[in-house]
C-alpha cells in the first residue's frame, strides 16, 4: 500500500490496492500506434500529391504557377510544424473550417512534408539531363509526352530514396500531434505514464515501435527502388 499523507484533511479515495494492468496499457499504446500509422499513411499520401503539384508548379512555364508553388513551399518550410498544427486545429475553426483532430493532423503533416518533398520532385526532374529533353525534341514529342514518358520515369528513381526519408520525417513528426489532443502513440505513452507512474516502460516501448516503423519504411522504399531500377543499372554515375 502506498503511504498516505498524514497532513491531508481531505478524504482519501480508493481503497482497492493499486495494481498495474500492463497488458491493458500496452494495448492502449498499440491503439496509439494505429493512429500513428494512420497519420503517417494518410499524411504521406497527401504529401505525395501536393509534392507533385507544387514541384511541377515550380518549373512551370507560367509565372503565376511558379509563384504560387514557391509561396506554398516557402511558407510551409518556413513556419514550424507546431505553428501549422496549431493553426489547422485552433485557428481554422474561426474561419469556419472545422476539422476533426485527425483531419487537422493529416492536413498539417501532409502540407508540411509535401513542401519539402516538392523540392525533391523539382530537383529530381531537373537532375534528368538536358540531353533527354533534347532527345525528346529531336523525336518531336510534346512537352507533356516527354515529361510523362521520358523525364518522370527517370526522375522517380532519383526521388524515391529522399521520399523514403521524407516519410520517416513525417512518421517522427506525428509525435507532435499530441499537441492537438490526437491520441497518437506518444500521447498514449504519456497517458500510460500518468496512470501508472512508470516512465521507462511506455517510452521504451514507443521508441522501439517508432524504430520498427522507420525500418519498415526504409525497407519498403529500398525494395521499391530495386524493383524500379531493374535494367537501369549503370545509368546513373
Amino acid at each position: 500500500m502506498p503511504p498516505r499523507s498524514a497532513r491531508s484533511h481531505f478524504p482519501q479515495h480508493g481503497t482497492k490496492p493499486f495494481m498495474i494492468d500492463w497488458s491493458g496499457y500496452l494495448s492502449l499504446i498499440l491503439q496509439g500506434a494505429v493512429v500513428t500509422v494512420q497519420l503517417t499513411v494518410m499524411g504521406s499520401i497527401l504529401a505525395l500529391i501536393v509534392a507533385f503539384i507544387a514541384g511541377l508548379g515550380r518549373i512551370s512555364r507560367f509565372a503565376i504557377l511558379r509563384w504560387l508553388a514557391t509561396a506554398y513551399i516557402e511558407f510551409f518550410r518556413g513556419t514550424s510544424i507546431f505553428v501549422q498544427l496549431f493553426f489547422a486545429y485552433f485557428v481554422l475553426p474561426f474561419m469556419g473550417i472545422s476539422l476533426t483532430p485527425l483531419q487537422a493532423g493529416v492536413l498539417a503533416l501532409g502540407l508540411n512534408v509535401g513542401a519539402y518533398a516538392a523540392e525533391v520532385v523539382r530537383g529530381a526532374i531537373l537532375s534528368v539531363g538536358r540531353e533527354q529533353y533534347e532527345a525528346c525534341t529531336a523525336l518531336n514529342l510534346s512537352r507533356w509526352q516527354c515529361m510523362r514518358k521520358v523525364i518522370l520515369p527517370q526522375a522517380l528513381l532519383v526521388m524515391l530514396p529522399t521520399f523514403g526519408n521524407n516519410a520517416i520525417e513525417l512518421l517522427k513528426a506525428t509525435s507532435v500531434v499530441s499537441l492537438i489532443s490526437l491520441a497518437d502513440m506518444t500521447f498514449q505513452a504519456n497517458i500510460v505514464r500518468s496512470q501508472t507512474g512508470s516512465t521507462l516502460i511506455p517510452f521504451a516501448t514507443i521508441l522501439f515501435l517508432y524504430f520498427v516503423f522507420a525500418l519498415l519504411i526504409s525497407f519498403g522504399v529500398r525494395a521499391l527502388e530495386r524493383h524500379m531500377a531493374r535494367g537501369l543499372d549503370g545509368v546513373r554515375t
Partner: protein
C-alpha cells in the same frame, strides 16, 4: 475572436525572452551537432567492423525515432541512472545528438563527392594520409557541405518548440504560457509563426549566398 494590437505589444517582451532561449538552444545544438556528426562519420568509416556497425546502428536508431521521445528519455529516464541534466542542457544534448545523425550523412556525402582521382593524385604526390585529408580532401569536401549543414540548422531551429516538453521556456512555451494566462491564442501563436517565417526567410537568403559561395567547386 478579434485581433488585438494592444495585446500584441503587451506580450512582445515576454516572447522575446523565449526567442533568446530558442536561439541559444539552436546555436549550442548546432555546435554539438557539427562535432557529433563528424564523430559519427569518422567512426562509421572505421576499419573495425564492430565499431562501424555499432555506430551505424545507433545513428540509425536515433535518426529513426522522434526527437520528442528522445527528449523525454534524456530528461525523465536518465536521472534514474544518476544523470541529472538541467532542462536546457538536456535539450541541447537531444538536439545535438539527433541532428548529429543528420550532419553525419552530410559529411559522408561531402567526402564521397570528392572524386577518386583526387585521392589518387594525392598518393601520386606521395602525400601522407593526414596531409591528404587536411590539404586535399577536406578543403574540397567542406565548402559544398555548407548549404546542407545550414539547412539542418534551420530545421533544428524550427524543432526547438519540442523543448517545452522538458520545461525549457523557449518561444513556443512562452507563447503558450502567455496564451494560458490571458486565454488568447491567436496573437501569440501568430506571432510565433511570423517569427519563424521571418527567420526562415532570412535564412533562405543566407542559404542562397552560401550556395553561391560554397555550393559549387570548379573542377
Amino acid at each position: 475572436m478579434e485581433w488585438d494590437w494592444n495585446f500584441v505589444w503587451q506580450i512582445f517582451p515576454t516572447l522575446l525572452q523565449g526567442v533568446k532561449i530558442t536561439i541559444i538552444a539552436t546555436l549550442l545544438g548546432s555546435v554539438l551537432a557539427v562535432f557529433v556528426g563528424l564523430a559519427i562519420a569518422l567512426l562509421r568509416r572505421s576499419p573495425n567492423r564492430l565499431v562501424s556497425t555499432t555506430t551505424g546502428f545507433i545513428a540509425e536508431f536515433i535518426r529513426g525515432t522522434p526527437l520528442l521521445v528522445q527528449l523525454y528519455f534524456i530528461f525523465y529516464v536518465l536521472p534514474d541512472i544518476g544523470i541529472l541534466l538541467p532542462p536546457l542542457v538536456a535539450g541541447v544534448i537531444g538536439l545535438g545528438l539527433h541532428y548529429g545523425t543528420y550532419t553525419a550523412e552530410v559529411y559522408r556525402a561531402g567526402i564521397d563527392n570528392v572524386p577518386r582521382g583526387q585521392w589518387e593524385a594525392a598518393k601520386a604526390c606521395n602525400l601522407t594520409a593526414r596531409q591528404t585529408w587536411t590539404r586535399i580532401i577536406l578543403p574540397q569536401a567542406i565548402p559544398p557541405m555548407m548549404p546542407a549543414l545550414a539547412n539542418y540548422f534551420i530545421a533544428m531551429f524550427k524543432e526547438t518548440p519540442l523543448l517545452s516538453a522538458i520545461t525549457v521556456l523557449e518561444l513556443m512555451n512562452q507563447a503558450k504560457s502567455v496564451a494560458n494566462t490571458y486565454y488568447r491564442y491567436i496573437e501569440p501563436i501568430t506571432l510565433v509563426g511570423v517569427f519563424f517565417l521571418t527567420i526562415s526567410l532570412i535564412s533562405v537568403v543566407v542559404l542562397r549566398w552560401l550556395e553561391q559561395r560554397y555550393g559549387r567547386i570548379e573542377r
